[in-house]
Symmetry: C2
Subunit: 106 residues, 2 copies
DNA sequence: ATAATACGTAACCAAATGGATACGCATCAT
DNA sequence: ATGATGCGTATCCATTTGGTTACGTATTAT
């Protein structure tokens, strides 16, 4: 796949399970890098790279506190995901409704 | 990244913009492969590969109609996405609320 | 029967991804 | 001042990803 452009969308960002886990963790409050890194069986630089991706998409923000860098969840950009998934919601609710009435007609 | 296991989650599936576009198209009704392929500037085999990924995750279903294969949206599996994004919704609504009250306090 | 159509799959390939290790630079503790 | 701590970045590497062309097969048209 000779693609010249790389995809830096939020969809790509949350495709990685580690990044999703980082975001899930940050929902409980801001955390410095070491705390985030120790939660996963990966090296700290690996987590740093994940954080950079999230940072550049403004899904998290960094605040320096002495020698620590505290990361905070900035969920506004995740709205794209919610906006995209929303129309599908109607579909599967409709499907469930169809199943329900089908079962009731038995 | 020497990873032995590959990630076949729905999150990975919707990371690709072409696959999202395919799903978006299928929301307007089932379609055969050629119709889907002609909508994108990619070869038909490329679309076939995307469809296979979606098929194996049960996000779409295939129904053979003569020599055509009609693909239909099966959005139930997308619920994982909606379930994951939902808690973040509260966060950005809260952020917007904070911004609003901040602006009103000016 | 033969040709055309509608697909899937195989083989191949460049680029992107996500990991590790090595290093550098502030900042804090002593 | 010196060492330890917290973190980012550079470099390197294997794997995955997503594209292509070539080919095979089932179905429809002639």
């Amino acid at each position: 796949m000779p693609q010249a452009e790389q995809d830096r969308s939020v969809f790509r960002a949350i495709a990685d399970p580690t990044r999703r886990a980082i975001l899930d963790r940050l929902r409980q409050g801001p955390a410095p890098v070491n705390e985030l890194a120790s939660a996963f069986s990966q090296s700290r630089p690996a987590i740093s790279k994940h954080l950079r991706i999230l940072r550049e998409l403004n899904v998290v923000s960094e605040q320096r506190h002495g020698r620590e860098r505290v990361y905070r969840l900035e969920p506004a950009e995740l709205k794209d995901i919610a906006d995209w998934i929303l129309p599908y919601r109607d579909f599967w609710q409709q499907s469930l409704g169809n199943l329900k009435s089908y079962l009731e007609d038995e």
